[in-house]
Amino acid sequence: MSSSEKSPSSGLKPFTAMLRREFAGYFRTPLAYVFLAVFNAFAVSLAFFVGGLYESGVASLDRFFLYHPWLWAFLAPAAGARLWAEERRQGTIELLLTWPITVWQAALGKFLAAWLFLACALLMTVPVALTVGWLGDPDWGVIVSGYVGSLLCAGACLGIAAIASALTRSQVIAFVTGFLACFLLVLVGYGVFDELLAGVLGSGGVDEFRRLGLWRNLEPFTLGLVDARPAAYFLSVAFAGLGLSTIIVERR
């Protein structure tokens, strides 16, 4: 055995160990495969049967991405529920907090692993894009920007899921609260609360508020409009969630 004095661990090693364990962790249970299958089934069937992607006769994926905020609102909390809740339930949080890794390193490793897992789910839908390419002549730049937008949207939902997971030892509670919070963000974009809020915020305020919705920020990406504002929105929600969940874990 190497003595503890002879083992200087750089900041990167614990972080990559964490990232690898967490990512591999998704595939240790059948749940990951169920997740990937469900994501694909819903992504494809919503686009074709509800969105009428084929009937529209347009070689574009905007009807495919239209449903992604709903998908992520449901599935990002499902993938993110285990982040901290599982550590608490198993008691392994006590190991993690007494191993030579900072909570921030651990949290970032966990978060990126979960995001990477969601990216895998998204990547599996590439055949949809290929089908559209085979049937017509789509603008590939627009499709790529749509995928980037969807991935950022997934990160934002995951940030919210991370907070929910940090607050409880039950994955079920983490999932349900995470889902409800993401669901609200989806509804905001559709103006569901407009009338409710008009009295408080005024019509200008309501419009500003609607900008906080997930679809409002994903839409420009699906049209090929690369804009810093929606990207900044998704990333701020993602990293605010990551930061807040880390602080919650540290404080407990």
Partner: protein, 234 residues
């Protein structure tokens, strides 16, 4: 310089004062038996020493590093097995130990895992997922992750809890083998363990240190250790 130092540690949970002004120091070569009734503050003290809980007041120092201010350095010198030996149940024993070795940034993680499997006699279950192991093996896995980096400081919360006599003997054997080079704290309910394993005894009750003395002095307090224990913790 002592390897473990508790300096006036205090911790409250709401109105309950779980640990009050606890101080002691442990040198290399000492195996301290940490005794006390349930709820006496043993685990809370250990959690503060290992950096899992932040102390309300006082400081914990491991190998010269303050657990709160120099957490990562302190934890590099520390091996800790919490009560119940928690582990990632879905991993195999080998995967789990490899993760612990990687996370600690050990120079040759594969070799560290091999040696630790051998030391803790875990070779035959190395490929099994931890969830499928018996309690005895699970406790040994918890012990294994605590010693994989050959730390100078070892803190074990009830490492023999729920083990059969043979398994207890095994854990004690391994501990004795490595104790001379380390500072060790072992919490236990089992008073007989004091005589077999420890060089020193600290009794804690109602969050306070009631007795801190050498094993021989403690054993000389009376033939009936249970009566001694009851008297000290009353």
């Amino acid at each position: 310089m002592p390897l473990i130092e508790a300096k006036n540690l205090s911790k409250s949970y709401g109105a309950i004062r779980a640990v009050r002004d606890v101080s002691f120091a442990v040198d290399r070569g000492e195996v301290v038996g940490f005794l006390g009734p349930n709820g006496a503050g043993k685990s809370t003290t250990m959690k503060m020493l290992t950096g899992h809980l932040r102390a309300d007041a006082g400081a914990a120092v491991i190998a010269g590093f303050d657990v709160a201010d120099q957490a990562v350095q302190a934890k590099q010198h520390l091996g800790y097995s919490p009560e119940g030996a928690p582990a990632y149940g879905e991993m195999t024993v080998r995967e789990f130990l490899r993760f612990a070795a990687d996370l600690r940034g050990l120079a040759d993680p594969a070799e560290s895992v091999r040696k630790t499997l051998e030391l803790c006699r875990l070779g035959e279950v190395a490929a099994q997922t931890i969830d499928t192991l018996s309690k005895g093996y699970r406790m040994r896995v918890g012990f294994a992750q605590a010693v994989i980096h050959d730390p100078e400081v070892l803190i074990l919360d009830e490492p023999t809890d729920g083990l059969d006599p043979n398994q207890k003997f095994e854990v004690r054997r391994i501990l004795k083998e490595m104790a001379a080079r380390k500072a060790v704290i072992v919490s236990t309910h089992i008073l007989e363990e004091v005589g077999e394993l420890c060089t020193r005894v600290i009794v804690i009750a109602k969050g306070e240190v009631r007795c801190d003395e050498s094993r021989d002095k403690f054993l000389a307090r009376g033939a009936d250790l249970n009566a001694v224990f009851r008297r000290l913790t009353a």
